[in-house]
């Protein structure tokens, strides 16, 4: 996509350094972006990509270093300055107000704040014309809450274009898209570059980086460790730069498939948050197998995870555990049936940030004889339990009394694993277990899941990362609009097949065949 580049430097970062306490998030990072160019900023979680972009956008102030856009140095810590310099950003987590219209979201802050009227007609006309120019069709009067994830991303891009952005930064833009939507996004990016915009594309996915960029910058541990022309490098070389040491892909043995541990039969349930409702779900989880659930977020995964966790009750259908039909259902029932649960959001749901490590690890079983008698807690036993998890799961924390809020994401996840895996659960629900973790922590989580599989646990892995699902899962199901596809064994469906399912096609037959599925394993 280099046709439009005329070599003029539009953005220059020089010597950006930022520390948080002892952590060096960015270490003297310098690079420049030319007009009409697509730079990929490649790096693992925690490599410092997001911090760098937050500095560029004035949300953080760098300890040292300067940002120059179109020859002018940007003042520090001023989000307005970046916008004025015609830099637009599409955040990974959309910055949209759900209860407001597309028009309101886009026009917010673009007109004089203290002005007695808001020129809606002008805003609408401008949105429509930009949408036509760049092929980003949206209805300006639609509520954000009613839009799909792909449409919301289009609104984010329109927001930047509406402000005449000449430089567009996209932070992990494909993380939430289906393969088809990703292709559409790439076509949009091509069109933007053709119109003379410059783009920084932040990602940790190598094939996407190779597909869209002219140049690749690799960040690792806060440092810029490599800068390559995309045409002159390959995935292997970039992977080496990105990770530093070679991480061996997990060794996956043949599954020792056992009996069905957990079964959902014709289950429906209300959606969680803005996610889809569940419709007529059939799901079989067998001992010694990892079942991977792929899908774009918001399609009912959260509801399914909540249902299995016990925080949501089905409105229809039955839950069977080891062949028994379950009557009442709650987190306590789930725990009593030895279901270990790793929630999607470890900060908001998994752990209580303001309580200690000890208090957090006993939260699922403080009523057992082991930790309490006659309504009083045995803090000594609780502390010993915390110490054993800290030791067994290699958690880095000052003491069992430390508040969990102060732990890194990876260490918090290890605590959750320690809590969930205590007493060798017969089934494990792992909901987005590696989201936001760095490479080391990711491989640790994968290893733990495989260990549990080896000892015969039935595992459901819900992930938006298709690679992760395809690597780990013995059988794969796809979720779309609250419906679940029929399962397929490892390797039986291609990425394209899965993508079609993720986009919601080919489900009509799936629901009907699903009930028959259990027979072949029985």
């Amino acid at each position: 996509m280099t046709a439009q580049s005329n070599g003029e430097v539009v953005l220059n970062l020089s010597g950006i350094t930022k520390t948080f306490g002892p952590l060096i998030a960015n270490d003297a990072i310098s690079f420049s972006l030319k007009q009409g160019e697509v730079i990929a900023l490649l790096g693992e979680n925690g490599a410092g990509k997001t911090t760098l972009m937050n500095i560029l956008f004035g949300h953080y102030v760098a300890d040292s270093g300067t940002v120059t856009a179109f020859g002018k140095e940007l003042p520090k810590g001023d989000p307005q300055a970046a916008l004025d310099a015609r830099i637009g950003m599409v955040h990974q987590h959309f910055t949209l107000a759900d209860n407001m219209t597309v028009l309101d979201n886009i026009a917010l802050g673009t007109q004089k704040l203290f002005w007695p009227s808001f020129d809606r007609a002008k805003a609408r006309q401008r949105i429509v014309s930009h949408a036509e120019d760049f092929g980003l069709s949206v209805n300006p009067d639609a509520l954000i809450a009613d839009l799909s994830v792909g449409e919301r991303q289009r609104v984010e891009i329109l927001k930047a274009l509406y402000r005449d952005a000449r430089i567009l930064i996209l932070d992990e833009p494909t993380a939430v898209l289906t393969p088809h939507e990703t292709d559409a996004l790439f076509r949009t990016l091509k069109m933007l570059v053709a119109k003379g915009l410059s783009i920084i594309f932040i990602s940790h996915k190598l094939q996407e980086v190779m597909a869209v960029s002219d140049r690749v910058l690799v960040l690792r541990g806060g440092k810029l460790v490599g800068e390559e022309r995309t045409a002159e490098t390959d995935r292997k070389a970039l992977a080496g730069l990105m990770v530093g040491e070679e991480i061996k892909p997990p060794q996956i043995s043949e599954p020792q498939t056992g009996k069905t541990v957990f079964r959902l039969e014709n289950v429906s349930a209300k959606g969680v948050g803005t996610g889809a409702d569940l419709h007529d779900i059939f799901l079989d989880l067998k001992a010694g197998e990892i079942t991977g659930l792929a899908g774009v977020s918001g399609n009912g995964q959260a509801a399914l995870a909540a249902l299995i966790s016990g925080t949501l009750s089905p409105t229809k259908g039955r839950i069977h555990i080891n062949g028994e039909t379950i009557g009442s259902w709650s987190p306590r029932h789930a725990l009593a049936h030895k279901i270990g649960r790793i929630p999607e959001d470890r900060h908001a749901v998994g752990m209580i940030g303001d309580m200690s490590v000890t208090e957090n690890v006993v939260s699922e079983r403080y009523l057992s004889n082991r930790f309490s008698k006659m309504g009083f807690l045995n803090w000594g036993a609780a502390r010993r339990f915390a110490e054993s998890i800290i030791h067994d799961f290699d958690v880095k924390c000052p003491s069992p009394e430390a508040r969990v809020r102060l732990l890194s994401g990876g260490n918090m996840q290890k605590l959750i694993l320690g809590r969930a895996f205590d007493g060798d659960p017969q089934m494990i629900l792992a909901s987005q277990p590696t989201r936001g973790l760095d490479v080391g922590a990711v491989s640790y989580v994968h290893a733990q899941l495989l260990k549990a599989r080896a000892r015969g646990a039935a595992i459901l892995l819900i992930s938006e990362d298709l690679d992760e699902v395809m690597t780990l899962a013995d059988q794969i199901v796809v979720m779309s609009k609250g419906r679940l596809s029929a399962p397929s064994r490892r390797g039986a469906r291609t990425i394209a097949d899965l993508g079609t399912l993720m986009a919601g096609h080919g489900f009509e037959s799936a629901s009907n065949t699903a009930p028959k599925e259990p027979d072949h394993a029985a």
Partner: protein, 349 residues
């Protein structure tokens, strides 16, 4: 400006900021005293003398602290679970009304039986009064702040109705006041001839009991978990709504004990002014104690000292006694700021 979490603060820091908060309170009070045309140091001297300067003053301060310990405990318990009970005032009156109903001759029993009956009855009344808002919160999502606040007004009118109707003292010369409780229902004086009564001892025991519950018991653990993060608590299998209801019962019961103590211990009968806002001041007491039940005893004595001292000072120095209310409110705001500063540091850029 942004806030960054601090690593576990040292003991010194944990105490330094609250100490600065108290200091700030006195500085602001000094400015007001000067505006009122008096000398701050002299006025503070008079306040301290009036609060602890004599045996009479000390007894008076402890007597005034007694209801504040109960309401402070009620708030500390509720706020721990983030149940915003602003209705301790009404719950106090519920306890007081129950004391009159049970203690004016309806039950003939020796003190050893009658007093426990009154205590249990009053705690039940207070608990039930907070049960309503708690259920409205858990079932219907109605904010308990507004319902408990409004209940204060409703219940006070109800008490007024009772005092002009069924509970009116026939010998009261038309004043809205109740009959006096029987001798067996009175909490005895600790020192003969002084106002300090066994309600104070009951308050101390209550504080210890609440501390045990909060620090050592399953319920206390559940309450803290629900207060810090209800969603995570629910995920872990803690029955959030049931815990909130239990918290409400405990909190309402504790606040009701303030009513028992004031009626059976101090006043002997019920009037519409037995509480000059002890329910609201309990919020300050609890926050000053950082919601620690044992700390509540100390902060209640501190706050009571300011009230008693300011009353005495006001008579001699002419500075309005409302200075004590200002100080208490200032202390609350500076204390919550101080707690925040012990846990976060402010980065200006």
């Amino acid at each position: 400006m942004r806030l960054e979490p601090k690593p576990a603060p040292s003991m010194a820091v944990t105490l330094l900021y609250p100490a600065m908060a108290i200091l700030a309170t006195f500085v602001i009070a000094a400015i007001l005293v000067m505006i009122a045309g008096a000398a701050p140091l002299q006025v503070f001297g008079l306040v301290i003398k009036g609060a602890v300067g004599s045996q009479f003053a000390l007894v008076e301060t402890l007597t005034r602290a007694t209801p504040l310990i109960f309401t402070g405990l009620a708030i500390a318990v509720a706020f721990r679970a983030k149940l915003w009970n602003i209705g301790a005032e009404a719950q106090l009156y519920a306890g007081a009304v129950m004391t009159i109903i049970l203690g004016t001759g309806a039950i003939a029993a020796p003190a050893g039986i009658l007093i426990p009956i009154i205590i249990v009855g009053a705690m039940t009344a207070g608990a039930l009064l907070l049960l309503g808002p708690a259920i409205l919160k858990t079932r219907f999502g109605v904010d308990e702040v507004v319902t408990t606040l409004l209940l204060n007004f409703i219940f006070l009118l109800f008490v007024s109705l009772l005092l002009e109707g069924p509970l009116k003292d026939p010998m009261g010369l038309g004043w809205p006041q109740s009959e006096r409780v029987v001798a067996e229902a009175r909490l005895p004086r600790i020192i003969q001839g002084k106002r300090l009564h066994y309600g104070f001892i009951l308050a101390i025991f209550s504080a210890i009991a609440v501390w045990l519950i909060m620090a050592k018991s399953v319920l206390g653990y559940e309450m803290r978990a629900v207060g810090h993060n209800p969603e995570a608590a629910r995920f872990a299998g803690i029955p959030v709504n049931r815990v909130l209801v239990k918290t409400a019962l405990l909190s309402g019961g504790l606040a009701a004990l303030a009513g028992v103590s004031e009626v059976a211990g101090l006043k002997g009968n019920l009037t519409l002014d037995i509480s000059p806002g002890y329910g609201y001041t309990g919020i300050v007491v609890a926050m000053l104690a950082l919601l620690n039940p044992l700390g509540v005893v100390i902060s209640a004595i501190f706050v009571a000292g300011i009230f008693v001292g300011a009353d005495a000072m006001s008579r001699s120095a002419g500075v309005p006694s409302y200075i004590s209310d200002v100080m208490v409110a200032t202390a609350l705001l500076s204390m919550v700021t101080a707690i925040m500063l012990t846990r976060f540091r402010i980065r200006w850029r």
